[in-house]
């Protein structure tokens, strides 16, 4: 079999890559057939890649375990096949077992550790951040505790517990300003990372593909 490290393939690869980079950037002018071509390549490649990885998973996790004598894994196959039940309308209810399995595991894993890392640890960090050693620290403590609580209260939904009083309207307004501050900071901060990506692509085009020398 050919190995793909021959110079001809490396050069060909460079031109294919450059073609796709330019096709994608043509979107900046407007949507056109080059972008459409890149888009379809990407979906095809992603689907093919995911399918290959899926086959690997079936082999590495499923079949290898069964061969190794872990027969419980045989159960996974009917569950997987159940997703295809919809092609036989009479038995389409079977697919719900597949759904239920994926959702049951996915949902519970999704919340069990985040409960701690996204609610309790931030709470501890907020309380620990309180520091009254000098004026600036006092200000910081007030801002942190103030905005953590008001931002949370911004998301009140029921009329009963919002109590729609003037105070809560005020509190929610402060919370909203906090969210604005975070969005403003993120947008200001992100320009750098995003431009770094663009610069990387431009460097590829200029120096790797066109081989322009730096002046």
């Amino acid at each position: 079999m050919v190995t793909m490290q021959e110079p001809i393939f490396v050069e060909l690869g460079l031109w294919i890559s450059a073609f796709y980079v330019l096709s994608c950037y043509s979107y900046l002018y407007r949507y056109n057939r080059f972008f459409k071509f890149a888009e379809h390549t990407m979906i095809g490649a992603a689907a093919g890649h995911t399918l290959v990885m899926g086959l690997n998973n079936i082999r590495d996790i499923g079949i290898n375990n069964i061969v190794a004598g872990n027969f419980i894994y045989i159960l996974a196959f009917p569950l997987g096949l159940s997703l295809f039940a919809r092609f036989v309308p009479k038995y389409s209810w079977i697919q719900r077992y597949g759904f239920a399995f994926m959702i049951g595991i996915g949902m519970s894993i999704g919340i069990r550790s985040r409960l701690i890392s996204r609610i309790l640890i931030p709470m501890i960090a907020t309380i620990n951040a309180v520091n009254l050693s000098h004026p600036m620290a006092i200000l910081n403590s007030i801002i942190i505790v103030g905005w953590v609580t008001t931002v949370m209260l911004y998301f009140l939904f029921t009329k009963k517990y919002t109590s729609e009083s003037v105070v809560i309207t005020y509190v929610r307004k402060i919370g909203r300003w906090g969210i604005m501050a975070a969005i403003g900071f993120y947008l200001g901060q992100t320009v750098m990372t995003r431009l770094a990506f663009v610069i990387n692509r431009l460097e590829f085009l200029l120096f790797q593909w066109l081989r322009i020398a730096r002046l």
Binding site: T3, V52, I103, G188
Partner: protein
């Protein structure tokens, strides 16, 4: 019921100090999801084949060629991936030329789009947006190397903005958001969410 049972099993595994044999079972159950997902992906492949195969068969104007190409690429990946293995040079070459450049370039489109988005949306329409714009300007100035060359304290202001107001708002936001997520997950596990099973 199946969902609730699995959910409780996963909670027990996490919170309770369980013996290793129990861990083996829960670990296998998690692996099951990987296998089921592979089948789901096959279903996805069939959907793509049906969708784009039809468009090729009907010679749908302006579309059939792209559909054909999509299927060619998809089967190319599968063929090479299965015959030569995913760690071989052939698959890597394919992946590096047909997947990575598009992946990275579409990602990097953000760099361009964000500049335009900032231009057309950052108008001081009301006090709220004015506040947002001022914070963003300070951050921009603090980030750019030239900013702190002109006025050194800007870097300090930027990092203060990052560690104090940003952290505070982000924490409150994440906590509230996580709470909503917990409630909806529990509701689903209890079988109260009809959308989960589509029935």
């Amino acid at each position: 019921m199946l969902m609730l049972g699995l959910g409780i099993l996963m909670f027990i595994e996490f919170y309770v100090d369980v013996p290793d044999s129990f861990l083996d079972v829960t670990k296998s159950l998690q692996n099951f999801v990987m296998i089921i997902s592979a089948f789901a992906m096959a279903l996805g492949g069939i959907t793509l084949l049906g969708h784009h195969g039809k468009s090729v068969m009907d010679k749908k104007p302006g579309q059939w060629f792209y559909s054909l190409w999509l299927l060619v690429v998809m089967f190319g990946f599968i063929l090479v991936g299965v015959s030569a293995g995913t760690s071989g040079t052939q698959y890597t070459w394919l992946f590096n030329q047909f997947f990575r450049p598009i992946d990275m370039t579409i990602y990097s489109l953000i760099g361009w789009l964000v500049v335009y988005a900032i231009y057309f949306t950052f108008r001081a329409r009301n006090p709220e947006t004015t506040f947002l714009i001022i914070i963003a300007l300070f951050t921009l100035a603090g980030n750019a190397p030239i900013g702190s060359a002109i006025w050194p304290p800007i870097a300090g202001i930027k990092s203060w903005l990052g560690t104090v107001p940003n952290t505070a708002a982000l924490r409150g936001f994440t906590m509230a958001s996580m709470l909503g997520s917990i409630v909806i997950s529990l509701r689903t596990l209890a079988g109260m969410e009809r959308a989960a099973l589509g029935g």
